[in-house]
Symmetry: C2
Subunit: 364 residues, 2 copies
């Protein structure tokens, strides 16, 4: 059997603590299930800046390009608030997405039944919630040029960013959304601002044509992105798969994540196009950030990171049974009343990062 | 006394029905309070397209430029879904904003106590909520050039929009936010994506400098716009004034509006810079849209339109007592249990658009 290669990039803040729990699961799978994972490790974000003066070193980029999959923790923190724009912690993540061509960002917003009461929404609106947000990740205003600040003289500056989408970029992300919808509720809602943005007009057209050409069995709806944000808050269960651009996806997936009440639990996968052998580059990361305020205290919730590894098993290695088991282990541990501080509620048992990881490994 | 001139642009869908209720209040104020309003009327949106082939005619634009204030209903509907981009209903609203130089969009997100239960959020999270979103309205990706779809050949097109902000644009909207904060909770939260957008970097710098230079008595916080969306859902009461750009303001104010549970009640004001005489161009409109599904049925909620007129009294005519009275009349009617269908709840009395308008006029 060929090795399965993983690059671990724990990053900053609570990233390393969360990653440590995944490392235990990998070790277990190698020892007990003969999974054959080979792991390497690198730096990203502020920790890479401190070591190399860049948000990710060339060496680690090479490792990322060579690995079957990258597991990413989190980046950023007040320590690096004033580093130059080009080497800010986020630049490492953005470069990984761009150079690995990870155009499809899958963000499930699910509500763990045991946590429905943790949502700021009324429990009945989120109980059983299971949305998948498919966000375009290598285009749009994140990468379009010009992107600059010009000095106009007289104390005036001009900040410019450019939103660009080509037909093929919209087609391929729409394709991912339709394919995934077929494995779920068979419904896609596409969101843009076609009433204000030309890229939104094109987005709407291309999604419509892609649907007509190859996916007319899937139910397709279009919604303006601002109305989409409203509908997410009003009645999130109306959605199955949402497909949207990089910036709207950033906003909408964060809103969706927060309303599940399960923010500390939500994973994400960023996928490239399949190559000739059907292999795709991939990066897996929690939706939450680096949470510098609680870093190093051993109290961070490792579930999003572990659930991201479950997505890795599913999407990069086709280890579907193992992914299912790991996800079930998470749900079982939650059902048993074990909680980290962020999801603590009366009558539950509060534990730290390590104990939570141990409990999940135990249940796995 | 010089006349107070108002241009009414009822627009499409439920716009005309809602505007009719404001007309009654204007007539009453003229007859009983000697308010001296002179009203003219025009077309905007789909109704203007049907009559003139444009989303607003040159004649109506001239009237808008001449009036002390514009009252705007709502635009759009399925009937005009396929008209060319340049004359789509929204183009009328966008032209009004741009040509009247209405750079400051004030969107209060308040929760009427009588309606706290209508929110999808838990009542305790929204009870007493009172946020003011100050959205930049004449810049950013809404108006930046290039804004186009290019044919690249080979079936490929490219959609482009450009986000542009100059120092002076950020300075003046920040100034509005700080001034307004002083009349309220004295706190401003500025939202952008400085970790991804150069315009966000500039936005952050200019808001910080404006604060230091002239408003250091106001408490200032910065938040990434995606985190801001999350925090609005998690704990909206943490905010007082939020200042943000055109596109983020569009998204965030819609999310904020929805989470009050009072969407059909929320007004907005769009203001220009004061001229030599201290007069500013202004347009007032409900946050909700044209709701084509219920148009013409006499069941639409006119409160947002009436509350927009209250903002008009306050900001365009400095009729503070009258504005207070009108807002109190709305709250009293709600307290008395009178409800349109959209905010109906058990034990309340359901009424139509006209009756709701009458009840508010009665209480005024
Ligand atoms: C860290 C940041 C650059 C990133 C983004 O804006 O994409 C984050 O918010 C996310 O959603 O993954
Ligand atoms: C109608 C549309 C152009 C408009 C906008 O995007 O600004 C609306 O959503 C709003 O928020 O006033």
């Amino acid at each position: 059997m060929t090795a399965r290669t993983l690059l671990l990039l724990p990053g900053d803040g609570i990233g390393p603590e969360a990653m440590a729990e995944v490392r235990k699961i990998i070790a277990y799978m190698n020892a007990e299930l003969g999974a054959g994972f080979e792991t390497d490790e690198g730096l990203v974000g502020g920790s890479a800046y401190d070591a190399h003066g860049a948000a990710i070193s060339e060496g680690d980029m090479e490792k990322a390009l060579a690995a079957d999959a990258v597991l990413f923790g989190a980046v950023g923190g007040p320590k690096w608030d004033d580093v130059p724009y080009e080497v800010r912690p986020e630049a490492g993540l953005l470069r990984l997405r761009k150079d690995l061509k990870l155009f499809a960002n899958l963000r499930p917003a699910i509500c763990y039944p045991a946590l429905a009461n943790a949502s700021s929404l009324k429990a009945e609106l989120v109980e059983g919630l299971d949305i998948l947000i498919v966000r375009e990740l290598t285009g749009g205003v994140y990468f379009g040029e010009p992107k600059e600040i010009i000095d106009l003289g007289n104390g005036q500056k001009r900040g410019i960013d450019t939103q660009v989408y080509d037909t093929y970029e919209i087609e391929r992300i729409a394709g991912v959304a339709f394919e995934l919808a077929r494995t779920r509720g068979n419904r896609v809602c596409s969101m843009e601002k076609r009433n204000v943005m030309k890229s939104g007009v094109l987005w709407n057209q291309v999604v419509t044509e892609t649907h007509k050409r190859a996916y007319s069995d899937v139910q397709l709806e279009h919604m303006l992105a601002d109305a989409g944000g409203m509908q997410l808050v009003r009645a999130p269960k109306q959605f199955d798969v949402i497909v949207t651009d990089n910036l709207f996806g950033d906003m909408l997936s964060d809103v969706a994540a927060m309303l599940t009440g399960s923010l500390g639990m939500l994973p994400s996968a960023s996928l490239g196009a399949p190559d000739a052998k059907g292999q795709r580059k991939a990066l897996y990361e929690p939706v939450h950030g680096s949470a510098p305020d609680i870093a190093g205290k051993g109290i961070a919730n490792p579930i999003a990171m572990i659930a991201s590894f479950a997505m890795c098993l599913r999407y990069s290695f086709n280890m579907v049974a193992e992914a299912d088991n790991l996800e079930k282990a998470i749900a079982d541990v939650l059902d048993s009343g074990v909680r980290t501080g962020d999801i603590m509620s009366e009558g539950s048992r509060q534990v730290g990062t390590t104990e939570m990881g141990d409990a999940i490994l135990e249940a796995f």
